[in-house]
Symmetry: C2
Subunit: 251 residues, 2 copies
């Protein structure tokens, strides 16, 4: 199926994984534009024309840029209704949208700093003060500018990281509770809720495998296994379909 879709994305980015998984579930082909986030390509003038906040992903469909991963995945389901990824029932849709919102606020906030400490801080710490000043001058949003400044110079107190870990554990507990009523996050139907949350649960497993030993959160473990078994998972999470994957970090 030709769909005239261009995806600007990051390899390790949880929000990019969310959108890739949605596209692969729908069997949509897209042209990949993988950005090197550690080389700050998301702050280039050309990319800022598509996404003024300088963040990934951006989906361009028939020349129109769509930003914010949660908005993008609902757009994809509106525009490509084959293989629907939203339940037909309004109440299940409300549950789905609550998980989508949760993924973008609570789950994102819990994994963001630990992820930056792992991937971005080692790169940013190597910048000279002058280079760092140049990088920061190009970051369009204050929040992101402050985060780059902090990870570049190690200004993140340990208790702030510990708060993220506490949140990660709470997130696993909430997913586990939902799956016990499931089998999917929004209920009977595999949906955008599962697509929105899996990159964060995957990331938590990666950053803190000790939070999810065998036997703990067994609902999460079952769900994670079923998600990994879906044909869309591998191409989305272990993305290879762009020559630029070589040398880019993925976790």
């Amino acid at each position: 199926m030709s769909s005239n879709l261009d995806l600007y994305h990051g390899l390790a980015s949880t929000c990019s994984k969310k959108v890739r998984l949605c596209l692969y579930e729908k069997r949509l082909t897209f042209k990949s534009h993988l950005l090197n986030l550690q080389a700050f390509e998301q702050h280039s003038p050309e990319y800022l024309k598509l996404n003024p906040n300088g963040v990934v992903p951006t989906l361009v469909h028939n020349g129109e840029p769509i930003v914010e991963s949660n908005v993008i995945i609902e757009y994809i389901d509106d525009e490509f209704p084959d293989t629907p990824l939203r339940p037909a029932d309004s109440l299940a849709r409300a549950r789905m949208r609550r998980w989508i919102q949760f993924s973008g606020v609570v789950a994102y906030d819990a994994v963001a700093l630990p992820t930056w400490m792992k991937i971005s801080a080692p790169v940013a710490r190597k910048l000279s003060d002058e280079e760092l000043a140049q990088v920061l001058a190009r970051v369009p949003t204050r929040e992101r500018r402050e985060r780059w400044a902090r990870v570049a110079r190690d200004g993140i107190p340990q208790d702030e990281i510990e708060e993220c870990y506490t949140e990660m554990d709470r997130i696993l507990a909430e997913v586990d509770r939902a799956i016990s009523r499931g089998p999917w996050l929004a209920g009977e139907t595999y949906s955008l809720a599962d697509i929105a949350m899996i990159p964060f649960v995957d990331r938590i497993h990666n950053l803190r495998p000790d939070l999810c030993p065998p036997g703990r959160y067994s609902g999460v473990a079952d769900w994670y296994r079923r998600m990994k078994a879906r044909p869309a998972f591998a191409p989305a999470f272990d993305f290879k379909d762009d020559p630029r994957v070589e040398g880019l970090p993925n976790i």
Copy 2:
């Protein structure tokens, strides 16, 4: 139309106004359960059964609670499709959803603290240390617990309030830009985007009228005037249909 809808809400609450406006636009009748947020009724054990985060609003439809105002308004449009409040076109829907998300994150954060300083701080400051400890013990989320503690004891630095004001001005500028391409926030169609954003623009006008003098942000002024002229506006914003409105603050 009988619809078996119960709304638990706050009079001044921006997120409650969002949902009331949506219900009145659809001409849906609902049973009002107005909570006195300054008497901390949102933390009562009965209400926490409906909304474990102890925040308003909660819509109960046929006995099923739905929480989070952005989720509620999409639920209402899914369940009651007469007078649709979402554009038919996917791209306009994406624009609409971006504004809905923006309202819940950026706009909410900009007005929340100044609103609390105006309405809740004067009440919370009158609590003795023991009473405050009792109130805080019942707040279910850490974020809200910290906010009550800070407004109760004046622990909010002026520069944090100033940041909110800067954000308010940026929000007016963004709305103005969108309306200049409008006439509605998502484009040609009046939608949930307008419903989601108007409580915040109304609140900014209330808290900082000097930010929007005549002639500045004229697109916002036109849009605000057209919103106020809609029959749904007055019952939603100057809500009277509950005996409990007497003595509750509204701004």
